[in-house]
């Protein structure tokens, strides 16, 4: 493999991992939409409150979801591959469902009609995103190892009870190191607990995604804890 094609492969691997992270986020948001729909139906005893709660929660999440899907779709369009074109089509369909949901929320629908539409669109959305996520993870697993230095192919979901991988733990330690010394012990323990749960219940890809996002947000967390006013409690 020439160095140029190896570099292209490495770049595509990184783009596909970004896509996997975006799809995880979009799928999580879509599942949250489904939960919101269930809660809104539970509140049908109080129509006024049900409408306000359902519309308020759904609008904020749906708009965030639309932005995420647009980003994931644009990223998929950059990759010239038949499988990825199918993926881009799935993402476009999911994005169209989300836009219809957002448009519906701006209409003066009755609570029952709004709930039914939201339910139908949320169900379509969850299916679209599950299909898109499957394509992305198949793509990640199918890529050949590159000759340039990139992280190795992620494994599929690990067995229950699995410990966090060494790379994820190393990245989490890096994130903690960026924090002020007075806060490191607290966040080290907090992040270790979350990473342990992810290792227990999800796969290695999710561990890496979690650890990478922690590193990416470490500076923001540092600024946030340094700016804390005296009300912040340290128990």
């Amino acid at each position: 493999m020439t160095s140029h094609s190896a570099l292209d492969l490495a770049v595509n691997r990184v783009r596909i991992r970004d896509l996997a992270c975006d799809l995880d986020l979009a799928r999580d948001a879509a599942l949250t939409l489904s939960r919101v729909r269930v809660r809104a139906r539970d509140l049908e005893r109080d129509p006024g409150r049900a409408r306000d709660l359902a519309l308020t929660l759904s609008r904020v999440r749906v708009l965030d979801l639309a932005v995420t899907l647009a980003r994931a779709r644009d990223l998929a369009n950059h990759l010239a591959n038949d499988h990825v074109r199918d993926l881009a089509r799935d993402l476009a369909a999911a994005h169209a469902h989300v836009r219809r949901l957002a448009d519906d929320l701006n209409l003066n629908l009755t609570p029952a009609r709004a709930s039914d539409r939201a339910r139908d669109l949320a169900n379509h959305l969850v299916r679209d995103l599950a299909r898109a996520s499957g394509r992305v993870h198949a793509l990640v697993n199918g890529l050949e190892p590159a000759t340039v230095t990139v992280p190795s192919s992620p494994a599929v979901a690990g067995p229950r009870g699995a410990r966090p991988g060494w790379m994820s733990r190393h990245l989490v330690q890096r994130a903690v190191w960026c924090l002020p010394s007075a806060h490191r012990a607290r966040y080290r323990e907090e992040f270790d607990a979350e990473l342990a749960e992810i290792a227990e219940t999800r796969g290695r890809v999710r561990q890496w995604g979690y650890a990478v996002r922690l590193v990416g947000r470490a500076v923001a967390l540092r600024h946030a804890v340094q700016a804390a006013v005296p009300q912040r409690e340290q128990s």
């Binding site: 992270c21 995880d24 986020l25 999580d28 948001a29 949250t32 939409l33 809660r39 308020t56 929660l57 904020v60 999440r61 708009l63 965030d64 979801l65 639309a66 932005v67 899907l69 647009a70 980003r71 779709r73 644009d74 476009a92 994005h95 169209a96 836009r99 957002a102 701006n106 607290r186 966040y187 323990e189 907090e190 270790d192 607990a193 979350e194 342990a196 749960e197 992810i198 227990e200 999710r206 995604g209 979690y210 650890a211 990478v212 996002r213 922690l214 990416g216 947000r217 923001a220 967390l221 600024h223 946030a224 804890v225 700016a227 804390a228 006013v229 009300q231 912040r232 409690e233 128990s235």
Partner: protein, 114 residues
Amino acid sequence: MAGSRTGPKMTLPTQLVLLALLEEPDRERYGLELSEVAGLATGTIHPILARLEGCGWVRSRWEEIDPHQQGRPRRRYYRLNPDSIALVRAALARTQAARSGVLRLRPDLAGGTP
């Protein structure tokens, strides 16, 4: 004691976290759980929680377990400061009103192009 009246910058992720906490104000949630409920990626929620804690709108505490007995590290639980719930609701209401106005003027800001 109630938290800061001005509060943090009301970005969209911050609003999502506050809405998630407001769903059940008396309930404590840990970071991963909050990220699922709020619909945010894991690992990105901590700066938001740190800012909310810093301005007194959120409180946190360690889970009271023996990690060796339970076989897992203890979690950090978060909940809304009861004295700040009214401030949180008011801040969200102001943000929602402003956002509705913006989206009426610029509907293209609601998401990417289809």
